[in-house]
Point group: C2
Chain length 195, copies 2
């Protein structure tokens, strides 16, 4: 009781992910997560507000990290380049060593509509914060929104390929590839305009 | 009782939008909507499953319209151009004459988190359907996802400017502008790559 539990957050998180995978998110209780982690329910609630927060507690830190990257980017860097660099840094610093956990987490979310909705809200909030950070750099209103939304789109597509791929290409490289592909697609001359 | 109510759906929808605007979505009941429309609750439930569906019943028709446009596009048309044309057609055929209603609806959604989540789910489903339609045209997996997500991003940004603008530029023109802007942003040469 009350004794120090080394890496309690990590143990709870691993226990939760195991149970969500084994019996589904809905059927797992906080009591079961705590038991599997060898901790008490009370300790669980010291780290997470509820069993859903085990999946989403990192979103705020990710958003802060990305906004800090955009704020710190060289002033001459364009909006797409700024967003791509920020997402690439997050991929290297946060995600790269957590590929298995990232895939597990995504599988849990994909199986539950309420979790999908929460994930979409988090991504929309992330896009809004990145657009706001671009505006602070003097980027126009529409360009800021578009660059941020395009970044999140590239992030989602690259994430999916990274977690389900063979692991030979890094997540950051996938994000850069996606952005370059989007540039080729969207920047390609419009055949109708040439007629 | 049982007599024919001309334009019952439209009357219920207008009554609901008025009430959502006046007293908020949460505080409005189906009974109040029916009363304002001069119809019965029973008639309401003939058209809508609940008060939320008044805001979202058109989403399925929009998705079908857009997918049909992509399916019918000339085979030589590129993915971004195909998506832009489909969204532009929907803007002209469905949205343009409903600017006031579209703004009212958006105001109601922006004021309620649960409605925002539902709107995001609908847009994510729309992006997935459009990506799937592009894949049927033989467009690659990643390019299909990126083009569809970029289209939805341009649609969202253009929608916001259209409903809050002065009405002189059409929604379809705004979508084309947004896509062109995204092309300039994303297709711009990367300064880092030139060094």
């Amino acid at each position: 009781m009350g004794r120090w539990a080394p890496d309690a957050r990590g143990r709870l998180q691993r226990a939760a992910m195991e149970l969500y995978g084994e019996r589904g998110f809905e059927s797992t209780t906080v009591a079961e997560i705590a038991e599997r982690a060898g901790l008490t329910e009370r300790t669980f609630f010291r780290y997470f507000a509820d069993k859903r927060e085990v999946l989403f507690w990192g979103a705020e830190a990710l958003q802060e990290f990305l906004v800090a990257q955009v704020d710190a980017a060289p002033p001459e860097r364009g909006p797409i380049e700024t967003i791509t660099a920020a997402l690439g840094s997050a991929a290297d610093a946060i995600f790269e060593e957590m590929r298995d956990q990232s895939r597990q987490r995504q599988d849990v979310i994909d199986a539950n509509r309420e979790l999908q909705e929460r994930e979409l809200i988090k991504l929309a909030s992330l896009a809004a914060s990145l657009a706001e950070a671009l505006r602070r750099r003097g980027v126009g209103d529409i360009a800021s929104s578009l660059a941020a939304e395009a970044g999140i789109a590239a992030f989602k597509v690259a994430f999916d390929h990274w977690v389900h791929g063979d692991g030979r290409r890094t997540f950051a490289a996938g994000i850069r590839d996606s952005m370059a592909e989007l540039g080729r697609l969207a920047g390609a001359p419009n055949p109708a305009a040439r007629r």
